[in-house]
Amino acid sequence: MAAPIALTTKNWCLKYGKTEALKNLNIEIPEKKVTAFIGPSGCGKSTFLRCFNRMNDLIDNVSVEGKIMLYDEDIYDPRVDISILRQSVGLVFQKPNPFPKSIFENVAYGLRIQGKKNKTELQDTVEWALKNANLWNEVHNRLNDNSLSLSGGQQQRLVIARAIAVKPQVMLLDEPTSALDPLSTLKIEELILQLKQDYTVVIVTHNMQQAARVSDYTAFLYLGELIEFNETTKIFSTPKEKQTEDYITGRFG
């Protein structure tokens, strides 16, 4: 793997109370590439993804062990400011969750949290983010409309624009297209390919074709363990593990 590494996990374990959800995971996610997490549902993909911006901190009985590094910083260091971490590691959810505010205010939200008030700066950033999320052409003349008036696919792109407006280093996408129709899915996939020019992208998907289409690297998780991690072409052509092959060929899952 020639590319520099953005995210590293070392002996990463996570427990919900007493049940182990993630077991001793070691992975190195390269910078400015798309990495896909695949695996049967309930295997811990979302849990793992949410570790990278510490969303699991919100759940009461979670305990973790091991290390996760963003470049050379330990993100679970007690001195880390979670707000800053979450701004550099953005997360997009399965179901689009725009705020019940205007389109403009949705995208500007992260900036306002950072205390930015300059109007032209806000406008410029919002425009830039919406253009990068391939949404500008559809909404530029109704930025003040309520975001809930957008279609599902547009909402999901809006949420992506909202995440990139704060200029993160990493974008985490948790099954971003599973609630969308095929056409919207296609648009999001195009967007992902475009995003990797500037960001490190990690995407969870249960759709093999999607993983094959958009990702450079693929990790296969099973029952909380990392079974195999490699370049996507290799995983899909010559999987090393029997379980991976079975899953990809649809023999279980």
Binding site: N53, M55, L58, I82, S83, I84, L85, R86, Q87, G90, L91, F93, K95, N97, P98, F99, P100, K101, Y109, G110, R112, I113, Q114, N146, L148, V159, R162, A163, V166
Partner: protein, 551 residues
């Protein structure tokens, strides 16, 4: 193949019941009964209350024994006698006015006593500032030294207009100038007490302050004397305007001073248009004037003002308190046994009888809080209380406690409905918990909060019992807000429509005069509550439109 059409049997009662149609009918009748009761209640209040301002004809009643009376017919009653042979007797209630003559405005006549009734055109009704209405015949007018006969009605109009102008001047002076100077003099009195009680000042300093105050007081007193002179001049002028000579039904002649007359009208000469105009004039007067004659005449403006001010102040207190409490309970505490107990207690508070809140308000707010404030900040004024007596502030705080549960419960319900995804979405962008609450959640739950406020207003505006202990009075000449700095005087007592109904209806010696006023005040109270509620509902619907939650 069986037929799809209904057979005779499937249309039967049992089939009907199986479809649940009888429940539909039960529900519909329940709704109908509720509607009939509500409409009946409001209809009764509105008809009786607003009918009061309509001008009725004045009848001349001739009795069998030859005596004559003038009066408005108010009511008829059939008294049932036990004696089967005797016909049931009718009794008729007339408003005969002229209270200073007959000691009562109202009189019952036996139907059999009355020989006949007529409606003579010449009957005049004179509304007076004291002693109520006078019914009779105007014979002539003495105005500014000249005498006018009844064939010069224009003269009467002019005279009354002149009187009205003088009255307005007097009113302005009394309300504004006298009120202000009294207020200033009182402030100086308090200031003097304050200096006297201030131990950090030595005698020389004190004397210096006293001298300053004395100087100030002298100036204001001098000004006061001037105003007083001016006022006396107007009063004298008013008295000297003249009088009308007036013949009562029993041919007794009287002089009524022009200065005591509110208005004069000739009901039997009025057509529908006149009466309608007159009706709105009276209604308007009822809304904007101060009460007269132990609250049985004039208007109820101070009570309207007090009610609205009380409700608004209560809203101002209860909204932030309720929101903060609900947010703390729902978002910041661990959802354990203690929170459950607190929540149950809050819900049960809504069921505590309101008079209990009144007792609590009197004990805690008035005596304890008010007493402490007086001791700490107004000790110079003791033993006379400043905040240690019932007033607007304590009344609105008592109502705040009373309505707090509904606001808390509605806010919590709103918080429960916020989808998890929205909170996470905001947190994932790096906002803190407080920012999520402030920027996303509170705007989103604002419609629920408004629902709580609507319920709170509806409950608070109708409460009377607790207010009687913590601040309401039957007559409060000074409003809570006026032109004297600091403009808002929460240490004052106030009037309230609900209490006014009780006071006029049940504490007044003049029952017949009071009854329609009870209905009119009730109608107004309902109308004001409706207005307050509609306003908040409109605000809520706008907010709902704005923050349509994710589905």
């Amino acid at each position: 193949m069986p037929s799809l059409k209904q057979t005779e049997q499937t249309r039967s009662w049992s089939q009907w019941k199986k479809n649940g149609e009888h429940w539909v009918w039960v529900n519909a009748s329940a709704v109908a009964i509720c509607l009939i009761m509500v409409i009946g209640l409001i209809g009764l209040i509105v008809v009786r209350g607003l009918g009061h301002f309509w001008v009725n004809d004045v009848q001349q009643i001739q009795l069998q024994n030859g005596t004559l009376w003038l009066g408005e017919q108010i009511d008829t009653e059939k008294s049932i006698t036990n004696d089967a042979k005797q016909k049931s007797k009718t009794q008729i209630l007339y408003k005969v006015g002229n209270r200073e003559e007959y000691s009562l405005d109202f009189k019952w006549f036996d139907g059999e006593q009355i020989k006949n009734t007529t409606k003579p055109e010449w009957v005049a009704v004179i509304e007076r500032y004291e002693w109520g209405n006078a019914y009779g015949k105007i014979t002539n007018l003495h105005w500014q030294g000249k005498t006018y006969g009844i064939n010069e009605p224009q003269a009467l109009d002019n005279a009354l207009q002149a009187v009205q102008n003088i009255r307005e001047k007097i009113h302005t002076i009394e309300k504004n100038d006298i009120g202000r100077t009294n207020y200033q003099l009182n402030e100086i009195r308090l200031e003097r007490k304050k200096i006297k009680a201030d131990n950090s000042l030595n005698e020389i300093q004190k004397n210096k302050f006293y001298a300053q105050l004395y100087h100030k007081e002298k100036k204001i007193s001098a000004h006061y004397q001037e105003i007083k002179k001016e006022l006396d001049k107007h009063h004298k002028k008013l008295e000297e305007q003249g009088y009308v000579t007036f013949v009562l039904s029993d041919n007794k002649s009287k002089q009524i001073n022009l200065g005591h007359i509110v208005r004069v009208y000739f009901p039997n000469q009025m057509d529908v248009v006149d009466r309608t105009l007159f009706y709105f004039e009276k209604l308007w007067e009822f809304i904007i004037e101060d009460p007269r004659e132990a609250n049985t005449e004039g208007g109820i403006f101070p009570a309207i003002f007090g009610t609205v001010a009380l409700v608004m102040l209560m809203t101002l207190f209860v909204t932030p308190l309720g929101i903060i409490t609900a947010i703390y309970l729902r978002e910041y505490t661990r959802q354990g046994l203690i929170v459950r107990i607190i929540r149950i207690s809050v819900n049960n508070l809504a069921g505590v009888p309101s008079i209990v809140y009144g007792v609590f308000g009197l004990g805690f707010f008035v005596y304890f809080m008010g007493g402490s404030i007086d001791e700490l900040f107004y000790s110079f004024n003791l033993p006379s209380p400043t905040f240690g007596s019932p007033n607007m502030l304590w009344a609105s705080l008592t109502l705040t406690l009373l309505t707090l549960p509904v606001v808390i419960v509605s806010t919590e319900e709103g918080l429960n409905r916020i989808p998890r995804a929205i909170r996470e979405g905001s947190l994932a962008l790096g906002s803190t918990k407080f920012e999520v609450l402030w920027r996303i959640i509170i705007p989103m739950i604002s419609p629920s909060i408004m629902t709580g406020i609507i319920l709170a207003i509806a409950r608070a505006a109708g409460e009377v019992a607790p207010l009687m202990l913590v601040g309401v009075v039957k007559l409060a000449p000074d409003l809570v807000i006026d032109g004297n700095a600091p403009f808002i005087h929460l240490d004052r007592q106030f009037m309230h429509l609900g209490f006014h109904i009780f006071d006029v209806g049940f504490q007044s010696p003049n029952i017949e005069a009071a009854q329609p006023l009870v209905y009119a005040t009730a109608a107004l109270l309902i109308f004001i509550i409706l207005l307050l509620n509609i306003t908040t509902i409109i605000i809520r619907n706008n907010l709902r439109e704005k923050y349509k939650a994710l589905e």
